[in-house]
């Protein structure tokens, strides 16, 4: 039998109750001793399960796993497809198309995405935007930003750049020049290198399997 979340839940609750009752035999349920035992037992059991699941989860979200792509995904096309059995969108990784006009090796791709993540943190993006839905709500969610239609329909034209990655990199360096809404992103002094790295990070993030969040992004078919 495969152990799923329901079995884990029932097992954890059952073990907590049984162990508490066994340790507290001889005391009534209104006595401090009973609840002291319950506190210790429930904390230990739940912590144990968390540690076990953390090891499992970390294995499943290592870069290059089925859920979190390798950094070289920046060389490839990425799109979302509806999984009609699970009723959710899953990222699909397609053929190699290059990124900023070249194919990035494993080490180069890592260095670029890493620089992008550093840039993201140093500019405090998370205190206006959300990433995977977490952060502040003053600006759009960035989970699938790479796949947003606005880059093609609006920003490419505004910036006069030929490719999507060049358009995003240009926009990120001068967001104050290219307003899309009354609320403009401030110019945070990104260098060209930082802007490219940030685009790489966003592209990589858009290929993470997020269990379907956000649902039907840009009307996925």
């Amino acid at each position: 039998m495969e152990i799923g979340w329901i079995e884990t839940t029932i097992g954890a609750l059952f073990a907590t109750v049984v162990l508490t009752l066994w340790l507290s035999r001889g005391s009534g349920w209104l006595e401090p001793r009973f609840w002291r035992n319950a506190a210790v037992v429930s904390s230990l059991i739940m912590t144990g399960i968390l540690v076990y699941l953390t090891i499992d989860s970390l294995n499943q979200i290592r870069e290059g796993s089925a859920r979190v792509p390798a950094y070289t995904v920046i060389n490839k096309t990425i799109w979302l497809k509806r999984d009609y059995e699970k009723r959710r969108d899953i990222p699909v990784i397609g053929e190699e198309v290059g990124f900023f006009g070249k194919t990035w090796s494993e080490a180069e791709a890592f260095a670029l995405v890493n620089k992008g993540k550093m840039t993201l943190q140093s500019r405090n993006c998370m205190d206006c935007h959300t990433l995977l839905g977490n952060g502040a709500y003053f600006a759009p969610d960035l989970t699938r930003a790479w796949l947003d239609p606005k880059w093609e329909t609006m920003v490419k034209g505004m910036t006069g750049k030929a490719t999507k990655e060049e358009a995003i990199a240009e926009w990120l360096q001068h967001p104050d020049r290219y307003p899309t809404f009354a609320r403009r992103m401030p110019n945070l002094g990104l260098s060209e290198e930082e802007a490219k790295a940030l685009v790489a990070f966003l592209k990589w993030m858009s290929a993470i399997d997020t269990n379907g969040f956000p649902d039907r992004f840009a009307g996925v078919q």
């Binding site: 401090p32 506190a39 206006c128 995977l132 709500y137 239609p149 609320r183 399997d209």
Partner: protein, 476 residues
């Protein structure tokens, strides 16, 4: 039973606690101020644009909150611990040093936030300017400072208990909880380019602090407070505290899973996180039951009226803010659409206020009673009622406004619009959203007014002539 010193005398640790309280209250003011600036930027996006951007105001708003609540908790423990253990806190000089170190560090971090704001995308920025991760934006050097201060704090508690050769149930829970609290902070002190792993451990700090260890910490402080305030017997208080720990840790540790729905983590978190976080309100209901019972037994009268009302507000606020507003969006089927909308801050504002602000205010009023007029059988003023009512109304007003804005986003941006950049803009321009932001600001101004009234009351209560209305027995 707990032991206070003779009237008019304070333990050194209690004198230190007062320092903690006043600095905490000052930072509370800073939190409100930066919150108002950020709220105004929703209405006028050009306000301070490029000079003091939303991101900086917002960072100061939430970081001021975390620091002042921590200072309040520490003050609460330094206030009650010597009475609980019947002796002066061990290592008080070290505690004073830790206090001034912490204040200096906070000052430096704030000045850098305001003047430098951000830096180039490299490691020195993360070490010396900001780490850029919501709630724990503090640069890495400050993280070490925070852990060191927590270590001193833990030492004070443990060494005092050992020296007193007395470990009460409350102190045992407190020690256990502080070890977890300090340890969990370290889970957030690492860098990885992998955003899924980054957020995995980031939530160990944010969730396991706010929804587990802080709840238990505040539970221990309230347990000590209730023994003094209502004279509730130790046996009852400690049984309730154990029950609370069993339920908070029993549901909250795996309730962490509600943050693992959409960050790349495996599917089993949808079920586990949904189930356990749905149970998280249970301990909060238990506390409401107890508060109603206590208030009834004492007919809403006690030795310290403001403390009693803030303590009751704590039980209700924790349940409504953390419990109801949290449950509203915790099941994955709903959260898929509501995640990352204004519903989150609606819950955040109500929960932090209801669970933590109220508790700290309870303790501060109790401390002021003992400091200023220990001879008074009943500590009261007229002003605190104004602050209390206005503050509760304005926090509910802000949260209601954000709830409506959040529902609008959930529907217009997420469910219908396909969550794109354009869908975001459309939701932000929806009249329901825009009205929500106006009313959030209006109630924010009310909140500032109520903060000032509160501050004035805290400065003046118990000073000057006090009319003694009727005798209410102390239960110590």
């Amino acid at each position: 039973m707990t032991q206070a010193l003779p009237q008019g005398k304070l333990y050194e640790s209690q004198k230190l606690a007062l320092w903690y309280f006043w600095v905490a209250l000052a930072l509370f003011g800073a939190q409100v101020l930066f919150g108002l600036l950020a709220a105004w930027q929703y209405l006028d996006p050009n306000f301070l644009y490029g000079k003091l951007n939303f991101m900086t105001n917002r960072m100061l708003h939430i970081n001021a909150m975390i620091v002042w609540l921590l200072l309040g908790f520490m003050g609460g423990v330094y206030w009650f611990l010597p009475m609980e253990l019947g002796r002066e806190v061990v290592g008080i000089r070290l505690a004073r040093l830790a206090f001034f170190t912490l204040i200096a560090a906070v000052g430096i971090v704030v000045v850098v936030y305001l003047l430098v704001q951000y830096g180039p995308g490299n490691a020195p920025t993360l070490w010396f300017i900001t780490e850029g991760r919501e709630y724990i934006e503090a640069p890495r050097w400050a993280d070490f400072g925070i852990v060191a201060v927590m270590a001193v704090f833990l030492y004070n508690v443990v060494a005092t208990a050992l020296k007193a050769q007395r470990i009460t149930g409350v102190v045992a829970v407190l020690m256990f909880d502080l070890v977890a609290l300090a340890g969990l902070y370290m889970a957030g002190m690492h860098y990885t380019p992998n955003i899924s792993m980054d957020q995995y451990f980031w939530w160990w700090v944010v969730h396991l602090w706010v929804e587990a260890t802080w709840e238990v910490l505040v539970g221990s402080i309230m347990a000590m407070a209730l023994m003094h305030l209502l004279g509730t017997p130790r046996r009852i208080v400690e049984t309730w505290l154990y029950l609370e720990v069993a339920l908070v840790f029993g549901t909250g540790i795996l309730g962490l899973g509600h943050h693992y729905f959409w960050i790349g983590t495996p599917e089993y978190w949808l079920g586990l996180g949904g189930f356990f976080s749905a149970l998280e309100p249970i301990p909060l209901v238990a506390m409401v039951v107890h508060a109603v019972y206590d208030a009834g037994v004492h007919r809403m009268q006690t030795v310290n009226q403001p403390a009693l009302f803030w303590a009751i507000a704590q039980a209700f606020g924790n349940f409504i803010g953390a419990g109801v507003w949290g449950f509203m969006q915790t099941l994955p089927q709903i959260n898929l659409y509501s995640h990352g909308t204004q519903l989150a801050p609606a819950h955040g504002h109500l929960a932090f206020f209801g669970a933590y602000v109220t508790a700290i205010l309870t303790v501060i009023y109790m401390a002021l009673h003992q400091v200023r007029r220990p001879d008074l059988p009943r500590f009261d003023s007229k002003l605190w009622k104004w602050a209390f009512v206005l503050m509760v109304i304005s926090i509910f007003g802000m949260s209601a406004a954000m709830t409506i804005a959040g529902f609008t986003q959930t529907m217009v941006e997420r469910a219908i619009g396909g969550s794109t950049w354009q869908a975001y803009i459309e939701a932000q321009q929806h009249p329901w959203f825009q009205n929500g932001m106006v009313w959030r600001f209006v109630f924010g101004v009310f909140f500032l007014v109520s903060y000032l009234v509160l501050l004035w009351d805290l400065v003046t209560i118990g000073k000057g002539e006090v009319r003694v209305t009727k005798e209410v027995g102390a239960h110590d």
